[in-house]
């Protein structure tokens, strides 16, 4: 497809709405993900209200949700919808969108030195397929029965039998449709990311000279492209089960609403296998770009090359491969053969090795550096902290023996919020503060940014660390109210504490939004390279014009981490600096 770079002079619609420019699309993705994050965050606040004060009356909320909170008391089915939609929105419509859609789109062509994606029209189509997906997902709250309520994993039979719970009526169907649109959108985006990284690199940008961010985006997109299709197959079967009388996931003898269902022959386990075949790689789709962002930011503010670049890349290869064959560790309690469980446990333990290598490389990057604690650096360090402590929790969950005790407890909730909550969110914030000057040509406020950080990181950490301990004490996840269990009475006080801290955490995010909008309008004007960084995007003007580079594409002469090269005129040597200026080391 010959894409002419003609939109530079086009009208408002072509420039800012139906744009094929990867930078505009990236920013569109980022803004949508921020909007979805606000919704997902508010859902979490509602969940916390119920958990801290179960059965309490909130008359004004009753007016806001006349169905789900009739009279001000939260109904159990509404609570289940909240949990389901919070998970779905945050995983697919916030983190995936921000990291791959947002930073992926914005960074890939800039960092490989291309003018745009390989297929810009497909890129635009990807975004505009996603928008109806978002609207349908949000709109599912308004249909009869409310939004889907079978959990973000949509396990049958709850999700496959329409009479099972109110959320299984139209809400679940809309959930499937919205997910289908998301998958189509992701596929179009992912095809672009992979081919652009492989084929549109500028002269001199060999694979081993690519910034780590590009490597992580490459593996994340490739993983997504192979992991989503089997989920699509499963979603088609689920849709057929729900509306066309098949029983792929429904065994005989199911009993709902005082009658035995006519289905026979299926098994809910099939869904679990197909779902987790996606589901586990999906967490790496989320976390790999986050690690990439951290690895990009640490050297900049340590003024020191990234440690173990090659080993990091090889570790990413290992993680990408291993993540495809460990899905069974989500299913240890489903009655799988202990021998099969052993296989999945060994595979999962094997993943900890490359993960630990990457974590160690991050720490070693800091060793002996001249650290500058800017806001992006603080958030990157926070992501590193979550990656370390969250990873420890993963060891207990990956082993069948300990997982059988911890499965479906708050330990799991705490663990995955450390990993695909903490690491990705902190990295996304770090990326926002770091690349904001490149996106909009202005700096974000450091003062507000630091305040945002000190209100976000400790609160986030406290909330989910507490959840680990509650899980160890035996608190199960997804329950509507915990005040009916004697053995959990002692945990009611931490429930209230968590909710109070969650209020602080959510309020603090307003600071970020204020900072984002305020800096957009009156932030200090940023030069092309305000942080003194070396990667290619900082060689373009801020913000880069349509087509990114002037008449000539940039030429790359070195790897992206030449910081503090002895004898160099500055403590950073851009990738574009030729051998005549500074000797090439790598």
């Amino acid at each position: 497809m010959a894409e002419k770079l003609e939109t530079a002079h086009a009208g408002f619609l072509r420039r800012y709405v139906f744009s094929t420019d990867h930078k505009v699309i990236g920013i569109q993705y980022l803004l949508v993900s921020m909007g979805m994050a606000v919704v997902g965050g508010l859902l979490a606040v509602l969940i916390r209200l119920q958990l801290a004060w179960p059965g309490e009356k909130w008359p004004w909320l009753g007016k806001l949700f006349p169905d789900g909170m009739a009279g001000g008391v939260m109904k159990p089915e509404f609570y289940l919808s909240l949990v389901t939609m919070h998970g779905t929105l945050m995983i697919f419509f916030v983190v995936s969108l921000a990291l791959l859609g947002g930073f992926g789109n914005f960074l890939i062509p800039l960092q490989v030195g291309a003018r745009d994606m390989a297929f810009p029209f497909l890129n635009m189509l990807s975004f505009w397929t996603l928008v109806p997906g978002c609207l349908i997902m949000l709109g599912s709250f308004l249909v009869e029965g409310g939004a889907a309520a079978a959990g973000w994993t949509a396990y049958p039979p709850l999700s496959a039998v329409r009479s099972a719970i109110p959320g299984s009526q139209w809400g679940q169907t809309l959930w499937i449709v919205a997910m289908a649109l998301f998958i189509v959108s992701f596929t179009m985006g992912g095809l672009n990311y992979v081919t652009t990284i492989l084929d549109l690199r500028t002269r001199g940008m060999s694979l081993m000279r690519m910034p780590v961010t590009l490597w992580t985006l490459f593996f994340a997109s490739a993983l997504g492209l192979v992991a989503f299709p089997p989920l699509t197959a499963a979603a088609v079967m689920l849709l057929l089960d729900r509306h066309f009388g098949t029983s792929f996931f429904l065994p005989s003898g199911l009993f709902f609403g005082n009658q035995v269902l006519p289905n026979e022959g299926g098994t809910p386990l099939l869904w679990q296998h197909l779902f987790w075949f996606l589901g586990h790689p999906e967490v790496y789709v989320l976390i790999l770009p986050a690690l990439g962002i951290v690895l990009e930011i640490l050297p900049v503010f340590a003024r020191k090359p990234v440690f173990g670049y090659r080993l990091t890349v090889y570790s990413l290869v290992a993680i990408a491969f291993l993540s495809m064959i460990v899905w069974g560790h989500h299913m240890y309690v489903s009655g799988m053969s202990p021998y099969l469980g052993e296989f999945f446990a060994i595979g999962t333990m094997a993943i900890t090795i490359p993960s630990a290598v990457i974590g160690t490389n991050m720490i070693a990057t800091l060793w002996g550096g001249s650290l500058r604690f800017t806001t992006p650096m603080l958030f990157a360090l926070a992501a590193l902290v979550f990656f370390g402590t969250g990873g420890f929790g993963g060891i207990f969950l990956g082993n069948a023996a300990s997982d059988i005790y911890l499965h479906d407890s708050y330990f799991v909730v705490g663990h995955f919020h450390f990993m695909i909550g903490g690491v990705t969110l902190m990295a996304a914030f770090a990326g926002c503060y770091y690349w904001f000057p490149k996106m909009f040509g202005r700096m974000m406020s450091e003062r507000l940014g630091k305040l945002h950080f000190w209100l976000t990181f400790p609160t986030f950490y406290a909330i989910f660390l507490l959840m680990h301990y509650m899980g160890l004490a035996g608190m199960p996840r997804r329950y509507y109210a915990f005040d009916r269990f004697e053995f959990l009475e002692a945990l009611q006080a931490p429930q209230v504490w968590i909710t109070l801290i969650a209020f602080v955490l959510s309020a603090a995010q307003l600071l970020f939004l204020i900072n984002f909008l305020g800096s957009l309008l009156r932030g200090a004007v940023a030069g092309p390279n305000p942080w003194g960084a070396t990667t290619l995007e900082w060689a373009a003007p801020s913000p880069p014009p349509h087509g990114n580079w002037g008449d000539q594409l940039p030429e790359v002469h070195r790897w992206p981490y030449d910081y503090s090269v002895p004898g160099a005129p500055t403590d950073f040597t851009p990738q574009t600096a030729g051998p005549a200026e500074v000797p090439i080391t790598f």
Binding site: M1, A2, E3, K4, L5, G113, A114, R115, A118, F119, T187, L191, N192, V194, T195, T196, L198, D199, L200, R201, T202, R203, M205, S206, L207, A222, L225, V226, F228, P229, P230, L231, T232, A233, A234, V236, M237, L240, F244, G245, T246, S247, F248, E264, G265, G266, T267, L270, H273, L274, F277, G547, W549, G550, D551, Q552, L553, E555
Partner: protein, 204 residues
Amino acid sequence: MSQAHIVGPMAPAWGGGVSPFRIGWNKLMMWIFIIGDALLFAGFLAGYGFLRLASGSWPDRSQVFELSFIALMTFTLITSSATMATAVGASQRGERKLVLVFLGLTILGGLAFLAMQAYEWSGLIRAGASLASNPWGVPLFGATFFMITGFHGTHVLVGVLILAITAARFQTGRGRPEGVELAGLYWHFVDLVWVFIFTLFYLV
């Protein structure tokens, strides 16, 4: 690839790297798409295998299918792959007429396959089979059969449309050999999937 099409003063100094695979981005994109699509069918077929193995009984295939007819269907589809390959070869040699003839033959093959599939389906449906029922035994047979062959049939239909568009572009002189090659990749993939479906439903 794409860089070569940028017009005006922004024409680059060099067309960007195509290593490590030395293929253009559009062919690479098609290959990756095919891998994804293959995994979609893998998901379906794995699910089918899972359910069939878990099921106590499964209908006797010789009772359900007319195997000689299915063999003819398979033969037609495989033949269309051969005509497709000829069309790709002709497009690379620049023989426009030959491209059109062989694209036409491929489209005919695809349509014939679809017609035969429709005939097979209507026979089964008349006998009482559907997504939710199956006169020869477990209902899951009907569900998996119609879902998977239906999905494959949809892929053939999409392939026919792609071939028709490619042919129309060649007719009006806008077609490029690469377009034929990409359409060919997709067509061969659809045929290959049929080989798996044929084996797993009709032979075992």
